[in-house]
């Protein structure tokens, strides 16, 4: 009885540190209720957007007022630490931008936009939990929560064949990936007797110290880890779990695509970092080599190969795309590959590099999708042909898009270069260490990929600035002021952070602490 009571106590005490998540939970319900009002009122999207921003704002306020330091909540299910807080801010930023982008757009009809906002809040809740999960069970549950919201939202345009295809593909791939992950987790639990991330490394060492045939154990562990990687790899759209990505990006409403390309990807990296760098490199974090980690599981090598294949395949396939949303989908696959390089480095520097990269990536990718929305609203198409002559029709959008695309390529003085710089630095940092040659090869593959990616990004820029218009431009609708402000702000942010990024470094350095039990 006392045992049970203490459990209750722990849970009650945890609630205090769980207020941002609670806000999102009740916020989603609040938005569903709000959705019932103002039917047919012209100001409906604006009011609902205000409601959604209010929910995010309250969550942000609770997040900001949380005490520092790190601790476990709910009997070790989740942790509040600097690492999680960083990602939570990232999700709030991305969600707020998505709310603003969605409000004046045509992707969501005014009578259904409330649903989108409510589901978005639920999804942000899932992302919050993903970033702070410290237990395999919680990892699985939070990934599922995010996935379920995503399936619904990907098929939001119910009567659109592409949307239906996207949603169905997403469900099938997602179902398989999470099933495989759960299976891998069951292996881990069966072998190690724990689901707590903090205890994994210790149990692996213990298992190897005591008896069992080493080769068989290692094999099972490697298989289990690979299976768990499937779930994470699917969330960040890494090869070979990337197939859903282009179709879903194409079929989903564009504001949601924008969110999908940054939110779940960032959360996937948060889980991956916690799982691999946090748990599987051991609590004392002796830097593992490329082919060695705790229990001689060669996860840096697995991730490194995944990184090389992911970025190469993403970039090479993007070369052939003519639909901007698909192009950006393959580009986002390639970017997942770049970030996996940072994970493969298995170091604080690598972790920080991923965090910096994600921060920049959120701004530049959302900005890029905003331009896609603008053009789609003016021309009704996402084909690269309709970007021809954009520089004349809409100089602001064209200039901003050029800045985002150059930044995605990783050319100074844009912020994308800073992100890439930190990733390369993290990888080359490991070259003098054990099996450093593999890291050198990985860096060279990454560098070559940067050059390849230039080609398809510049194709869009060429269409906007050099090529003559494909068709006589129709009278473009006036751009909402909100879009103009968002575009200019993101473009300026990309430029400023490309020249002075000390605040980003300071913030990420302060958020490096991963709770390791």
């Amino acid at each position: 009885m006392t045992h049970l009571l203490s459990l209750v106590d722990v849970n009650l005490a945890s609630v205090a540190a769980f207020r941002p998540e609670l806000t999102l939970t009740f916020g989603a319900m609040f938005l569903f209720i709000l959705d019932l009002f103002w039917k047919g009122h012209p100001g409906r999207p604006a009011r609902l957007a205000t409601g959604a921003l209010l929910v995010l704002g309250v969550a942000a306020w609770f997040l900001a007022s949380q005490p520092g330091g790190s601790r476990l909540l709910f009997n070790g299910m989740i942790a509040t630490d600097g690492f999680a807080t960083f990602f939570k801010w990232l999700f709030l930023l991305a969600a707020a931008l998505t709310v603003l982008i969605a409000a004046p757009g045509k992707d969501f009809p005014p009578q259904r936009i409330g649903e989108f906002y409510a589901l978005l809040m639920a999804m942000v809740l899932g992302l919050f939990l993903m970033a702070s999960a410290t237990d395999l069970l919680m990892v699985y549950l939070s990934i599922e929560l995010v996935s379920l919201c995503s399936y619904v939202l990907a098929g939001f345009k119910k009567n659109d064949r592409r949307a239906a295809e996207a949603s169905l593909k997403y469900v099938i791939y997602g179902g398989v990936a999470s099933g495989v992950m759960l299976f891998g987790m069951s292996y881990l639990f069966g072998l190690l007797g724990t689901t707590s991330l903090g205890e994994l490394a210790g149990h692996i060492r213990h298992l190897q110290a005591t008896g069992l045939p080493a080769a068989a154990t290692k094999l099972t562990l490697v298989v289990a880890v690979v299976l768990v990687t499937a779930g994470v790899g699917y969330k960040i759209a890494a090869v070979p779990w990337h197939m859903w990505c282009p179709d879903v990006y194409e079929g989903a409403p564009t504001p949601f695509t924008a969110f999908l390309s940054v939110g779940p990807k960032a959360a996937g990296f948060a889980v991956a970092l916690r799982l691999f760098y946090g748990a599987l490199s051991g609590p004392s974090a002796v830097a593992p080599g490329f082919g060695e980690a705790v229990g001689s599981i060669p996860w840096p090598a697995i991730i490194g190969i995944m990184a090389a294949v992911t970025m190469t395949l993403g970039n090479l396939t993007a070369l052939a795309q003519t639909n901007l949303k698909r192009l950006l989908a393959y580009s986002s696959i390639a970017h997942a590959g770049y970030m996996l390089m940072g994970l493969s480095a298995a170091s604080d520097r690598g972790t920080q590099a991923i965090m910096i990269y994600l921060l920049i990536y959120v701004v530049m990718n959302l900005g890029a999708f905003l331009v896609v929305i603008l053009v789609a609203e003016a021309t009704g198409s996402e084909s690269i042909l309709d970007y021809r002559g954009l520089a004349r029709r809409h100089p602001l959008a064209a200039t901003a898009f050029a800045i985002f695309l150059f930044s995605l390529t990783g050319i100074p003085p844009f912020a994308g270069f800073v992100g890439k710089w930190y990733l390369f630095v993290a990888v080359l940092d490991r070259v003098p260490g054990p099996s450093g040659n593999w890291y050198a090869v990985l860096a060279i593959i990454g560098a070559i990929n940067s050059a390849i990616s230039l080609y398809y990004y510049v194709r869009v820029i060429r269409a906007m600035f050099i090529d003559l218009p494909y068709a006589e431009p129709r009278q473009a609708p006036a751009t909402p002021l909100m879009y103009q402000v968002l575009l200019s702000a993101s473009a300026v942010a990309v430029l400023v952070f490309g020249l002075w990024w000390t605040p980003m470094v300071d913030w990420t350095a302060a958020s490096l602490h991963i709770f390791k039990g």
């Binding site: 390369f424 630095v425 040659n437 050198a440 060279i444 600035f465």
Partner: protein, 551 residues
């Protein structure tokens, strides 16, 4: 005149054009919001470009006169900490390696800006060039680049100038890389938007080649950074573990820091870093076999951009090798010297033969640039005082002569709208002044004694002869081929019977005189008094090769 001091002159030279570009961008925004007239904005942005580019040139000349060659070493320094986390500094300064390039960059930038104006021409010449802006596009009579999207052009031109000046002035590796890359974007747009018929292809080829080189360079820079040792930062504190300071790295190289680093991929550390940097720079030179972007870029680029490309951008390859590879990786440089000489010889001879086969005058001159940059490679590979001074002098003289050549091509292209050598003939009778200045430039380029090109070529040959005797003899044959293709071109274009299509063509106009005569004066003065450049550069260059282990 008290505007320029030792501390600010290089920063001003670098950032005047950027300020001009910023003002032009504000003007474009103002135009969109307030509805200012197109003519007003065009004219204003031209003036802004002319003034800021002129100020930048004035600052470059001031830097030249403030630099004291007797003191030697690095002068005109300005430093500040930029990103503390990575020990990145804003650190500019000039020494004998860079001071002549800074002067050249200021000079050529201003001349290219003048050449971008539709001003100071005769009515007839402007009409032929398509400089009359009647407000609508006619595909059969394309408008001259100088009247198309003027504010954008000027902003890009100025941004390019900032990138060039910054590349030569920066002494922090990170800063260098940023300026190096900053040049790519305006160059892409300048070729791609304002270029000739195959501009898209030429622009993306230039971009891809250069970026492929610079990502390798980036990896090499990171590798160097991680091997370096801490050094003092601008604010007097010690840097955190490593440094980007190029001068400090060179000092550490002398102490053997980089030679002792662990090998990468089975190669010696210095060798693999050398290769990474070298490929990045070799693409820019351009060195065989990475040279194929150059003829395309040149042929499609508008005249002032060709001028900048040939006059300044190509020099960055050689400059980078001297600044990075020679100074920081002396042992690998000694290891690679022979290969560099071989590539130099291939550049010289192969490109000269390719010139013989060209039908397009601009392509001929583009390949002649490839050939002439080979002289610099050969001269610097020899590591003799004369050879390396000749190599850098060659950068300067080629930086004077090749812009002249491209301006000359521009003159005839503006009138005839083609550049095919075979289609001309007897132009000397209708364009006497043009023929005279063309003769001067062609003869300077083929190395006629008394003109600028001869001195540097002679120094390279005499400097390389004791070290690479065979290579030098092979290269020297190119002098004959060079003379052949230039004289043959003169013969076909300017002599013989006048092609009736060209009767009544206007001779040089004042804009063209403004750009050509100063360069012609430099050609003659440097031919008799190369000491003007040599006295500034010799000290630093000779010190540079003293530190490289003799072969």
């Amino acid at each position: 005149m008290y505007l320029f001091t030792d501390g600010n002159v290089l920063s001003l030279a670098t950032f005047f054009p950027l300020a001009g570009a910023a003002v032009i961008v504000l003007l474009m925004i103002a135009r969109a919001m307030l509805g200012l007239g197109k003519g007003l904005v065009d004219q204003a942005s031209r003036w802004i470009a002319l003034v800021t580019s002129g100020l930048s040139m004035a600052a470059a000349i001031a830097a030249w006169s403030l630099y004291d060659p007797k003191l030697g070493g690095v002068q005109l320094v300005a430093k500040a900490v930029w990103i503390r986390d990575f020990n990145v500094e804003y650190f500019v300064g000039a020494d004998g390696i860079s001071i002549s390039m800074i002067l050249l960059s200021g000079l050529i930038s201003f001349i290219a800006t003048i050449a971008s104006m539709p001003w100071w021409g005769s009515h007839q010449a402007n009409e032929m060039a398509g400089m009359h802006d009647d407000g609508h596009e006619d595909p059969h009579h394309p408008k001259h680049f100088s009247v198309r999207m003027v504010p954008g052009y000027m902003a890009m031109l100025l941004l390019l100038q900032t990138g060039m000046m910054g590349t030569f002035a920066s002494l922090d590796m990170f800063l260098f890389y940023v300026f190096w890359e900053v040049m790519l974007l305006p160059m892409y747009f300048l070729i791609g938007v304002w270029g000739g018929p195959r501009k898209e292809y030429a622009a993306i080829k230039f971009f891809l080649y250069t970026l492929a080189g610079s990502v390798l360079m980036l990896l090499a820079i990171i590798a160097l950074y991680y091997t370096s040792q801490p050094a003092l930062l601008a604010d007097g504190t010690m840097s955190n573990l490593h440094t980007f300071n190029i001068l400090e790295m060179a000092k550490q190289a002398q102490a053997g820091v980089f030679a002792a680093a662990a090998p990468i991929l089975g190669f010696g550390f210095t060798k693999i870093v050398f290769i990474g940097l070298f490929i990045g720079f070799a693409i820019k030179i351009p060195m065989f076999p990475f040279h194929t972007w150059l003829p395309d870029a040149h042929v499609e680029a508008p005249t002032p951009i060709s001028v900048i490309l040939a006059g300044v951008l190509l020099k960055m390859g050689i400059y980078g090798i001297l600044r990075f590879n020679y100074a920081i990786l002396p042992d690998a440089t000694a290891w690679a010297a022979n290969a560099m000489a071989v590539f130099g010889v291939i550049n010289i001879v192969y490109a000269a033969f390719v010139c013989l086969a060209q039908k397009d005058l601009k392509k001929l001159i583009a390949y002649s640039s490839v050939s002439h940059m080979g002289f610099s490679l050969l001269g610097m590979a020899a590591m003799t005082p004369q050879g390396i001074s000749g190599a850098v002098l060659n950068l300067f003289t080629h930086g004077i002569i090749s812009p002249m050549l491209f301006l000359i091509v521009g003159v005839i292209y503006d009138r005839a709208h083609h550049r095919e050598i075979e289609k001309f003939g007897g132009l000397a009778t209708v364009l006497p002044e043009y023929t005279a200045i063309m003769g001067l430039a062609f003869f300077a380029s083929l190395g006629l004694p008394g003109l600028a090109g001869f001195v540097s070529e002679f120094m390279v040959f005499s400097g390389a002869f004791p070290v690479f005797t065979t290579y030098t003899i092979i290269s020297a044959t190119s002098v004959i081929i060079t003379a052949a293709y230039y004289l043959w071109a003169i013969h076909r274009m300017f002599l013989g019977k006048l092609n009736q299509a060209y009767v009544g063509y206007p001779d040089l106009v004042w804009r063209e005189r403004l750009t050509l005569y100063p360069l012609a004066a430099f050609c003659i003065v440097l031919g008799f008094y190369p000491q003007m450049i040599l006295s500034m550069i010799n000290g630093s260059l000779h010190e540079l090769i003293r530190n490289i282990r003799p072969l």
